[in-house]
Every structure is written in C-alpha cells, then in structure tokens.
Symmetry: D2
Subunit: 134 residues, 4 copies
C-alpha cells in the first residue's frame, strides 16, 4: 500500500476568474492520479471495458481545499488504496504544490465502484483486476 504520485501541470483551462484553480478541476486531477495508479498496475479503462465488461465509476467523494493552486503551478497528486472489498475501492488522495513535501492544497477520499457495463449494476471486481491491485 505504498503511495503513488502523479504530476499535473496547471493550465488556463483549469483556472477560473477568481485567479485560481476552479474547484471541479481538482476532481479531474484526482481522477487522473487514480487512472495512472491503475495503469501503473497494468489496467486501463478500455481494457476493463472490453476484456472484463466492467467500468469503474465514482460512487462518492469528499474533498477539502486548504490552499489554492494557481496557473502554471506544477502539482503532485497522490493516490493510495485504503480499502478494497467486493465491488468497492477506496482511495485516499492529496494534492501538494510541486512535490509531496510542498504545500498541501487538497485532501480527498474517493469511493470507486465496479459496475457492469451492460446492466449498469454493481459487480464484484474481476479477479484480474484484484490481482493487479494487490
């Protein structure tokens, strides 16, 4: 359960007229880190869909914002598996400026559900995925 970090550069597209990163952008950044965490374990969205007939969807998320990220910042987004059970994966995540030692900007907890592509219903994580995650 070691930490995983993914760098994200802040572009104009991510900011808003208050001069900082727009709140929904942080959720895009958090998801990029979860996606790369998966890819790092040999799993991607497309393969899950085509090979296993499942998709991972966000069932719930909490985030708190400590300080604003700004245009041109380089961010360090972390994703750590904190729970894994049946059809659910829970990630603890953070966003720091520049590096994990930099200023903490955001903390989040993401609850991800495994869902059957055809029926849209919760489904146990496929064995291939569980192998990749552990």
């Amino acid at each position: 359960m070691s930490g995983f970090v993914w760098p994200v550069r802040v572009y104009l597209e991510d900011t808003d007229a208050q001069g900082v990163v727009y709140n929904a952008s942080y959720f895009r950044f958090l998801e990029r880190a979860r996606t790369e965490w998966l890819r790092d374990r040999g799993v991607d969205h497309r393969r899950l869909r085509e090979r296993d007939g499942v998709m991972l969807v966000l069932a719930g998320i909490e985030a708190s914002f400590q300080a604003p990220a700004r245009l041109d910042d380089l961010l360090c987004v972390s994703a750590e598996l904190s729970e894994l059970s049946g059809a659910r994966v829970v990630f603890e995540q953070s966003i720091h400026r520049q590096s994990l030692e930099g200023e903490l900007l955001c903390r989040g907890v993401a609850h991800v559900a495994c869902v059957d592509v055809e029926r849209g219903r919760p489904r146990r994580l496929p064995a291939s995925l569980l192998d990749g995650l552990s």
Copy 2:
C-alpha cells in the same frame, strides 16, 4: 430556508466515454445552483468582488452518486442553506432527474468560505451579503 432549484440540461460536454455524466461535471452543476441561489437574492460574483472585495470559494465538498445522469437529460439541482456563520456558508444540495420528484442522482454538502480578494484570507461575510442570504 426554503429550497431553491435550478434546471440543468446535460450536453455532450458534460458526459464521458462511459456513456454517462462525468463525475466532475456534477460539481459544476452544483455550483451553478449555488450561484443562481445567490443571484436570486440579488448577489453575484462580480458584485461581491467589486463592491465588497470578497469572493466565495469552495472550502470542502462531499458528494455521493446514486444513479448516473445521461446525455440530453434535464436535471433539477437544488441548493438549500443549512448553516451560516462568520466566514462560512454550508449548502445541502441534490440532483434529481427531471424534477424534485424524479430519481435522485446525487446528494452533496458544500462548505463555502468568504475570502478577501486582496489577501486571500478568510473574512467575515459582509453585512450586505448576510442581508441577502437571510
């Protein structure tokens, strides 16, 4: 403290390749309803900034997703003030399909902070804003 609802139409821009509304889009919808709730009370972001020197920023948010919204759906997004104190406003929010009586898709609680534009520090809500909110 009566409820306020705002209609949101789902466009291609809001959806993702899983065929449903992308998770960060819900946070954009929730903010539209909070912004319109304010406008309904005679307050908008620009006026707050220029007249009062403050901006409202999201300090934290929790959301749970019960069912997916889809392309072309008409959504009904609610915003209800649940707490008002010093430099913080808390909103309880929901997203239903079609109307408040339609299927519940998302529930959220948004913690909004009042921040000084110049110094970026928390500041008590200006009286003019408090008047508008109560």
Copy 3:
C-alpha cells in the same frame, strides 16, 4: 433558414485566470446552441443514436473572438443552417452579449458530419433528420 438563439449564462466553470471566458468554453456554448437547434426540430443526440444508428460529430470549426465574455454575463448564442448536403451540415454561428443586438463577441462556422455509430464512417443524413432540418 431563420435564426435560432439560445441563452447561455457564464459561470465560474467557463472562465479562466485571465478574468474572461476561456477559449474552449466558447466551443461548448456553440455546441449547446446547435444541440438546442436540433431539439427545437424534434431531434436529440440520444434518439439519433438509438433510432437511426448515427451520431453528429464536429468535422471542423473556425471561430474568431472579437471581445471577451465575462463572469456572470448572459450570452446570446445563435445557430443558423447555412448548408445541408449528403452527410454534412454547416452552421453559421455567433455569440453576442445579452441579446442579438448586444456586443458581438464571437463568430463561428461549424461543419458537422453524420457518422455511423457502429462503423464510425460518414453516412448520409437519415430522411427523418433531413425532414426535421428543413
């Protein structure tokens, strides 16, 4: 070939740290107007997909930006069919502030192609769609 206009409110999500509407947001606004133009004629993306097995995709677009839209602005986005042939529809579009008589902010020309959902290849517009458009 009368004009069609669709109102769009500018939210924080649409702006950037330069204090104005972010460039890619205009393309979202232009598409909302095209989508509503279609809906106004009884056609929506979902129906096209399910009933006719086609989707409308953007094949090309040109836009020029005359003046910036800003947070809280109400915009008036127009869509006018300027060409209709085989598998292509061309729209001339504009974005004005407040109303069609307001300041011109953006002009665009959008080339939309009809594509087979299964094979991803161009396909003639279905008769049902052509009827709706004329």
Copy 4:
C-alpha cells in the same frame, strides 16, 4: 522554426458519450502545447502578466478533425510558429496518435494576440517575449 511536440494523455474528463474525445477538448490540448512551447522558451503566463503586464489571448482558431482520439490514447500535439508580427503570433498545430508518425487526428491554426492586462487592448509583443520566441 523547428517543430515542438507535447504529449497529452486522454482521460475520461476529455471524452464524451459518443465514446471519443469531445470537440472542445482538442482546443484545450492545442493550448497546452502552445503554453509548453512558450515555457520551453522561458516564458509563462504568470510571468508575462506580472513582469510585462500583458497576456496572450486566442483571437481566432480553425481546426479540422480527421479521426477521433479515444480514451487512454496518448496523443502527440505539435506547435509551430508560422508568423510573428506586431501584436500577433500564429501557430500551426497538429494532433497525432501516439507520435508524429502516428495517425493524424486534428489540424489547427491558432491566431494569438498580445493584450494589455489593464486596458484589454492589443499591444505589441514585449521585447523580452520576442527574444524568447525567435
């Protein structure tokens, strides 16, 4: 005037319910490459604003879409300076799948204007910027 390329990974946030990259996302990708082209020359948006009192804004853009990018694709976005005069910079850009030798997905021409931050009017490119660009 050698070419510059910037890799972009396609995430869920970039796609739409048609199963491909959403059209406005390409404009975000094109801008990332222009921004990184600048950064590569020692210039960033924040510095331009604070040191020179100018910002670069998109005055016009044309794009044609040849083939769709898809979820999980790695894209190669190019930016090449094709004109530099007074208050304008023109970039020729492309998006290929995987590498410059991969399938061509998009071609674009972006007209970027230099604008005074205070007055919002066109301004000649500052000497420091011109030095960086040539």
